[in-house]
Amino acid sequence: MSDLTRMTAAQMADAMAAGEITSVQLTQAHLDRIGAVDGDVHAFLHIDAEGALATAAAVDADRAAGVELPALAGVPIALKDLLVTKGLPTTAGSKILEGWIPPYDATVTRKVREARMPILGKTNLDEFAMGSSTEYSGYGPTHNPWDLERIPGGSGGGSAAALAAWEAPLAVGSDTGGSIRQPASVTGTVGVKPTYGGVSRFGAIALASSLDQLGPCARTVLDTALLHEVMGGHDDMDATSLNEPVPGVVAAAREGALGDLTGVRIGVVKELRGDDSGEGGGYQAGVKQRFQESLDKLQSAGAEIVEVSCPHFEYALAAYYLILPSEASSNLAKFDSVRFGLRVETGTVERTMAATRAEGFGDEVKRRIMLGTYALSAGFYDAYYGSAQKVRTLVQKDFAAAFQLADVLVSPTTPTTPFKLGERIDDPLAMYLNDVATIPANLAGIPGMSLPSGMAPEDGLPTGFQILAPAHEDARLYRVGAALEAALAAEWGGSLMDQAPELEVRS
């Protein structure tokens, strides 16, 4: 039997439906792979071999009995450890939640279970999803499978690395400022942040409630679409959940793969293409080169390329680093040593609370809580939080004007290929610049995708191509993304992941 972990999720589903492989074989192959490489990669914080194999065996039994099954039944999946999972440890990457076993499932966890997908385990992340490298995880960093000395992106570096290391074909991520798209970019994988409200946030441990969005991660555009349709849809447990059907993203991915983009207008965001100094500066040469080549491919597929300007994006990063900390400082107040998690008992409950939070939270979490506390404090609220909310309006207006001229907008996902672990850990501002191109979408609530555009010639590491669409138009991402993926695969004679270096297999 060929290596089952190298198949796409769609191929796995087809092979099981055709009776060629079983879910137990498939799940065991992934557990074996995790055993062989995760000591080096550290994508997982918790592995549930028993639970995954039990789900797989039940799917195989039902299939043998002729029971009708969901499309991805039996295809294994990894969940970012930000999603609560009944009976499985959930930490959000924080020591303050070490050992916590949630008493309920997130809505997305429930949907994954209902789709009969074996849950392999929980993936690593920056603590409470605050970071762009997983170096702020309370449990040690994840390593990029392309080069173990480098960052896998963040906060969802664990989910992206699990895909790139062939440890899982599908993973769930969350994207508050780029935490799905930036890790996808630096690991040569695909990730989508759906329209805000397109996927229920119930049971996703909140970072910044007006920015957070759960989304699908995979190695191909079609696989990402298949998972998107499992995760999406209205949920009355989340008051911000969109009350509308899931967009037809699978159909859009299949249409795009045919390669015809005639009539599609693609807008290049001037401020995000790396030509200018300031916020747009600092783009690596190879990132710009691969971006331009991808644009040429899209044009060859029939798309019309136009340039658009979004002048207020220059202020988006600043607005984001006021809104996010403000909301986070409020959301993280619940870690108070009373109802769950760590308690460092020291005198009164208030003293205990302060001692617990000092010990349980890492430096980046403390920085952002303090920054948010400052931005919301009397005398500073209007200048900081109030102004940031106005910038949010200006960013939305920029997007609205740009989408008058183009059906989708594009940019490099992140300015550089993955940097070395440790390189930016003590420089918060340098770390924040990773997300300069992804943050505007979160401020405006619109959907975005990152997919591989190649390898930078100077270092042989993956580069990412970002596509953005208007709110509710997630399907456009998949149509354009699948067309680009097909054009690049034709040139490369396979996917980018086929060109990734082999990891050392340890027994």
């Binding site: 805000y196 409200g197 600043a318 040593s337 009373v338 769950f340 302060a354 920085r367 910038v391």
Partner: protein
Amino acid sequence: MSSLERSDVARLAALARIDMTDQDLDRMAGQLSAIVDAVAKVAEVADSDVVATSHPIPMANVHREDVVRPSLTQEQALAGAPAAEDGRFRVPQILGEEA
């Protein structure tokens, strides 16, 4: 915009209920000042005629039927608590000795 002094950071830490050593305060004061200086630029374009946006996709009056639904049992709700007693969360004393 002014930079943050160590005393400012100490006050914020107290408000945020996070104990900090003197060393922590010094490090945080430097890092937070750099971040605050960088983000203060939002005020440059935040004119009074610009409306503030708090939520990316506007929604209003999101309600559900006011009916009882299945929820956690008392035992489940207390299962993750550091301490519980008689079906309740148990906490250290609320008031200090001097109160």
